[in-house]
Symmetry: C2
Subunit: 406 residues, 2 copies
C-alpha cells in the first residue's frame, strides 16, 4: 500500500480516529494520519526502479546525491551478496514508488513523496575475486590507466559494491541511504561515502543544463536519450554473449572525485576562464559563436586572426571529433565538504560518467585531457572508481541476479 | 539592475544579438542572454535583507544552510571589521534580491533566482577583545555553562564572527558562501564551517513541520511570529539602553552541532522511541492525545494507569511550563558528513536557537535536558557557539554599524 494512498484512507476515516496514548505496536506506516492532501510538485515525481536499464543513468541528475562503496565483510560470499542485492532491490523499488518498506520505522521520509528517488547498484573489480566469480568478470573492469595528473586516495576509491542514490529531497535521499545501510547488516562494511548536489527543481525559470562550482554550464554536449546511437554508446548490448553476458543492458560507471582549485580559478579574469573552457560563462555558448547548443566550430578563426576556440581549450580537447567519437554520459553532482587545512575550499565535482565501454568513453577522453587540457591545472582528481552496473530487473527479480544466480 | 530584469531586456533585444568570439571584457552579468523566461516557484521567493531584524531568524529554515565562523586575522582591527561588515551587508542585500554584485564573475548562481536566500551576521565573545570593544560586550555573551553531556571540540566552536547562509537552492547558497569568503580577503581566517539541509519545498503535500534525521517531527512547539510575546522572547527590545544598546532589535544565536547516535536509535522499537520523545512519530501528536498542534497534557494518565508522557520524555523536560516559560526559536538544519571511523553515521542536527537572552532561553532548558532527558543518551553535543546577532539595518547601512561606529 502506498504511503500516499494510506494517507488518503486516513483522511476518509476522519480526524477523530486518532489513537490516544500509544500505538500498541503499530508500525509508523500503519499509524493513522490526519493528512489527506495529494502530492504535487517536486515530491510527486517518480522514476520507475524496474526496467531494461537501471534507474539513475539516463534520467536527469537530482538535487541530492549519495555515492557509497562497500566491501564484503570477511566470510560474506556469493550467496550473501545475492541475498543482499535481493533485499536492496526490493527496498529500492518500494522507495521509488513512495512506499514504506515493511519493518521500516525510521520515519525520516514519511511526509514526502518519492521526489524522483533512484538507487543504482554496481560491482567493482574486487567483487569478483571475493565471490568466486573471477571468470565472469568483464574485461571492461580492467583498472583504469594511471593519468599523470591523478592524486588518488585509494581509501576513497573502488570497492566491491557501489550504490548511487539520488533524490530531489535531502531527507528522502538520506532515508534511502540509512535503510540500505541497515539492511546490509554485517554482510558489508562501508568503504567510502560522498554526497553532492545539483540545482533544486524550480530554482531556474526552466530546466537548464547544470552549472558546476566553477560557474560553468556543464553537460551541454552530453548525449541525449533521443540520439540514434545513445543506447549503443551508453549501454552494453542486450544480446551480449560470453562470460559477461549478464551485463546485457548494463553500463559502466567511472566515478571521480574532482576537487576544483576554486581560489585560483576565481582569481582568473572572466575572459581567461572562458578561453580555458572554450565557452562563454553566461550562457555556455561556444566561443566560435551561436547559443549553448550550437555545435562547437573548432576551425573558426576569430576577428583577431586566432582560433576562436584555443588549442588547449577544454571543449576542443574533450570533443568527440578529437577522440574518434568517444562518448560518455556525464551525470555529476557538485560537492562541498567545508575547507581544507590551508583554508582552500574542499569542493568540486563528483563526476560520474556512463558508457558501454570505458575504453571507448572515459579513458580516451581523459588521456587527451591529461595531456593537453588547459582546465586540468585547476583540477585535482582525488579519488577514482570503476563499476560494472548491470541492466535493470523486472518485478520479482533483483539487480545482478543474472550474475549471482547465473 | 536585477539579474531577472537583465534577462528580460536581453530577450527584448532578440536572440540575434549574441556576441560571437569572446566578450571583450564584459562581466558575466552584463553578457547578453537568450533567456527571457520569468522566474516562478522556488527560485522566485525572496526574503528582504533590510529590516528591523536580520533575515534568517523569524523566516522558515531553507533547504540548504551553511554556518561559518571566522576569526579576525592578526592586525585586523575595528576599522577592518567595519569595512568587512559594510561589504558583506551590501553583498547580502544584492544577493537577496537576485542581483549580481559588481565584479562578481563567479557565475555559480547565474540562472537561478534568489531562492529565499538569507545571510545573517553575528559576533562572538572574542570579537570584542580583539577590536577594543570589550566595554560594549553584552553580558548575554558570557560563556555558556558546561553541561555534563557535552563533548565539545573547541576548534569547531565559537569564533569572532559568525555567518549563517540559507537558500532553497544549493548553488545559490554556495555562491553566497564563496562571495563572502572572497570579499573577506585577508581580514579574517576561516575557523569552522558546517553545512546542512532541510526538506525541499514541494516535497511534501503542504508546508509541514520539519523532520529531523531521527524521523521525528521537530519544532511543533516553536514560538510563532504571530504569538503576542514573540518579539519579546526572541528579540532584544528596540529601546535597549546601556553599553549593549547597539543590540536593539537583535537576537542571540546558540549553535550546537548535535550528533545523533542513529544506529542505536534506529534499533529501538518504535514504541520506545515515541516514549523517549513523548510524541507519536507518524504525525508528531503528543502521546497525551490530539494532533500535532494539540497542547501537550503533562498530567494525562494513560489507560494503563501510567503517565501518558513519561517522566523523562523529551517534551516533558523541555516544556516551557517546566522551565518557567523559557522560550527559544529553534531553526535548525540536519547534517550528514559521511561516516566515522567506526562506521557510524556522522549525522545529526545543526541546532540553531534564537532568543532575546540565552539565560531565559537555551540555558535553563538545556540544564534540565542535561539532567533528565531520556533523549540525551542518543545525542552528542560536539560543538557549541554563542553569537550576538545585531538588529537588521536599513538601506545604506550595514549590520553592526551601531556597534562599530557608535
Amino acid at each position: 500500500m502506498s504511503r500516499r494512498r494510506l494517507l488518503g484512507t486516513a483522511g476518509a476515516v476522519g480526524a477523530g480516529g486518532l489513537v490516544v496514548g500509544g500505538l500498541g505496536g503499530a508500525s509508523v506506516a500503519e499509524a493513522v494520519r490526519e493528512d489527506p492532501d495529494p502530492l504535487s510538485g517536486v515530491g510527486s515525481a517518480t522514476v520507475p526502479f524496474h526496467g531494461d536499464h537501471q534507474a539513475g543513468i539516463a534520467d536527469p541528475a537530482q538535487a541530492h546525491g549519495h555515492l557509497l562503496a562497500f566491501d564484503l565483510a570477511p566470510g560474506a560470499d556469493r550467496k550473501a551478496a545475492a541475498a543482499l542485492l535481493r533485499r536492496w532491490s526490493a527496498t529500492a523499488a518500494e522507495l521509488a514508488e513512495g512506499r514504506t518498506p515493511k519493518g521500516d520505522d525510521t520515519g525520516i521520509a514519511l511526509d514526502a513523496g518519492p521526489s524522483s528517488l533512484t538507487v543504482t547498484f554496481g560491482f567493482g573489480r574486487s567483487f569478483f575475486d571475493r565471490t568466486g566469480l573471477t571468470d565472469r568478470r568483464p574485461a571492461a573492469l580492467e583498472p583504469l590507466p594511471a593519468f599523470t595528473q591523478d592524486a588518488l586516495d585509494p581509501k576513497r576509491g573502488d570497492g566491491d559494491l557501489w550504490v548511487q542514490i539520488g533524490a530531489d529531497d535531502a531527507l528522502v535521499a538520506f532515508h534511502a541511504l540509512r535503510l540500505l545501510r541497515k539492511q546490509a547488516g554485517d554482510a558489508v562494511r562501508p568503504r567510502w561515502e560522498m554526497s553532492g548536489f545539483n540545482r533544486t527543481p524550480g530554482a531556474t525559470p526552466r530546466p537548464m543544463t547544470q552549472r558546476n562550482l566553477m560557474g560553468q554550464v556543464d553537460g551541454t554536449n552530453n548525449p541525449k536519450p533521443t540520439d540514434p546511437d545513445f543506447e549503443e554508446k551508453i549501454f552494453v548490448p542486450r544480446d551480449r554473449k560470453g562470460p559477461d553476458a549478464w551485463m546485457a543492458g548494463g553500463s559502466y560507471a567511472v566515478v571521480r572525485r574532482i576537487r576544483m582549485l576554486l581560489d585560483t580559478w576565481d582569481n582568473l579574469p572572466l575572459e581567461r576562464q572562458e578561453r580555458v573552457i572554450g565557452r562563454r560563462k553566461s550562457d555556455g555558448a561556444p566561443l566560435s559563436g551561436g547559443g549553448e547548443t550550437t555545435p562547437v566550430d573548432l576551425e573558426k578563426i576569430g576577428p583577431d586572426g586566432a582560433l576562436a576556440i584555443a588549442g588547449d581549450a577544454h571543449v576542443r580537447v574533450a570533443a568527440p571529433s578529437a577522440n574518434r567519437g568517444a562518448t560518455m554520459l556525464r551525470r555529476a553532482f557538485s560537492y562541498h565538504d567545508g575547507f581544507r587545512d590551508d583554508g582552500a575550499p574542499d569542493a568540486g565535482l563528483l563526476f560520474v560518467a556512463w558508457q558501454a565501454d570505458p575504453m571507448k568513453g572515459f579513458v580516451p577522453v581523459q588521456r587527451k585531457l591529461d595531456r593537453g587540457d588547459g582546465l586540468s591545472r585547476f583540477l585535482r582528481h582525488e579519488a577514482s572508481g570503476l563499476f560494472a552496473v548491470p541492466g535493470g530487473c523486472a518485478e520479482g527479480e533483483y539487480v545482478g541476479q543474472r550474475l549471482l544466480e547465473g
